[in-house]
């Protein structure tokens, strides 16, 4: 059977990997290319590169890094950040990305998902959503979590999947950076609504959090995290072993 995937996420700014807590206070970690090679050798099933640069120079540097990474890392690469048009899809796919993740770009222009799915295939288009509870409802946030769109998360994700998004990354802003586990209620709600792979993001603090994620939500396909991997708090190789010992199918 298909294995559950473990995905390290690399937020890249000005050529360096950074990861903040609750999206603030960014701290430099390492060279993205070296880190990607390291993760690939430890058994990461996929990598997400997230471009959090705002400048044109930063964007060009990001594309160079992506190209260099794809020359030595032979696992699927998903790229997100600043994807607003089909030209942006073309730019990152041409540098070795396999999937492209859209977030604010889809909120600003919902047709982007459908256009990209038609051109590159559903499997290539990932809808990523930053979600936070507001008055007891799940709201979609835009612009790196700074702006409440007022949109309800589950209908928004469902709409993007209907348009052709082949995969969903659910990032809970409520659990992100807190390291107390994934947002199980939110993830359950999304899994119930869509039939495409769902990737859980935000909240991983220990190996047990991943075990709980996959045991409590059998439909979840992957767990994504950043800082716990970057700082060596969780070793991917050990995590995979732990998953197997708990009866979860993992690639070792």
């Amino acid at each position: 059977m298909i294995t559950k995937r473990i995905i390290p996420c690399l937020d890249v700014k000005d050529g360096k990997v950074v990861k903040g807590v609750n999206f603030e206070g960014l701290k430099e970690v390492a060279s993205p290319i070296k880190l990607a090679e390291f993760y690939s050798s430890c058994g990461a099933d996929e990598l997400v590169f997230y471009d959090i640069t705002a400048s044109a120079e930063g964007r060009a540097l990001f594309t160079d890094i992506l190209r260099e990474t794809a020359k030595t890392v032979f696992i699927p690469l998903t790229v997100g950040g600043g994807i607003r048009s089909l030209d942006d899809f073309e730019r990152v796919l041409g540098c070795g990305a396999d999937k492209v993740s859209v977030n604010s770009g889809a909120i600003a222009n919902p047709e982007l998902v459908g256009m990209a799915a038609k051109k590159y295939g559903d499997q290539c288009v990932v809808i990523s959503a930053d979600i936070k509870r507001v008055n007891g409802e799940y709201h979609v946030f835009a612009k790196g979590g700074r702006e409440d769109t007022g949109m309800l998360a589950v209908p928004w994700i469902k709409r993007c999947v209907d348009e052709g998004a082949g995969e969903v990354v659910v990032n809970s802003m409520d659990t992100d950076g807190v390291k107390q586990g994934f947002d199980i209620p939110l993830l359950k709600a999304v899994c119930k609504a869509v039939k495409v792979p769902v990737i859980a993001s935000g909240g991983a603090g220990s190996q047990a959090d991943f075990v709980k994620l996959f045991q409590e939500i059998p439909d979840i396909d992957a767990g994504l995290a950043a800082s716990v991997f970057h700082f060596g708090e969780i070793s991917i190789a050990e995590l995979k072993q732990t998953l197997r010992e708990n009866g979860i199918v993992a690639r070792i």
Partner: protein, 202 residues
């Protein structure tokens, strides 16, 4: 020299890089003469069958590939490129493939259990049904990366490996000098590189 056939479908960057990583001299080309002079051919492909088959046909490279295979040159199809080796595909209608292998490409929908997600996307284990030099460096249960919604069926005479997705799905085929992988060796980490290396050495 290995020729990766470029007929305007998909992104060949990773495939090219992975072959370089195993030390193969590789060229991405749509030039008939280059393909004719290459020692081996790789037929890649992503997207929809009909669109890809039409592009390959319009490029005229379908006949070049078939002629080279007839001369005994090793050919490997990858993903949609593997599906195109067969006689027919039933992806949105009925379409002709290259007919180098016996069998049809059919939808997973209706074949696999309804509770399973389509596309079949992610890492799955290889189960070998026949020995083949393509997998000389691999072992039973090695994981490779799949992304597909259709699969090769009625291909008993060429199937060499399957993957379990509730039911067995054709993962790799080989017959004479024609090889095919439904999965993406260029995205399957060390195992994928071993398969590419083995193809280079055939």
């Amino acid at each position: 020299m290995i020729a990766i056939v470029d007929y305007g479908v998909g992104n060949l960057f990773s495939l090219h890089s992975s072959l370089k990583a195993v030390g193969a001299e590789t060229v991405v080309t749509s030039d008939k003469a280059v393909i004719e002079n290459a020692e081996k051919i790789i037929l890649p492909g992503v997207g929809a069958f009909a669109d890809a088959a039409e592009k390959l046909k319009n490029s005229g490279l379908d006949e070049v590939v078939k002629a080279e295979v007839k001369k005994g040159k090793p050919l490997m199809g990858i993903c949609l490129g593997m599906q195109m080796l067969f006689e027919r595909s039933f992806e949105y209608g009925e379409h002709q493939g290259l007919g180098l292998l016996k069998g049809d490409v059919v939808p997973m929908k209706g074949y696999i259990d309804e509770s399973l997600k389509i596309p079949h996307i992610g890492w799955n284990a290889l189960h070998f049904v026949k020995e083949n030099p393509l997998f000389r460096y691999c072992k039973e249960g090695d994981f490779v990366y799949f992304v597909h919604s259709y699969f090769a069926d009625r291909c008993e005479d060429s199937v060499v490996a399957t993957a379990d997705y509730g039911k067995p799905l054709t993962a790799a085929v080989a017959k004479g000098n024609v090889y095919g992988c439904q999965f993406h060796p260029e995205k399957s980490g060390e195992v994928g590189l071993k398969i590419l290396k083995a193809f280079c050495e055939i």
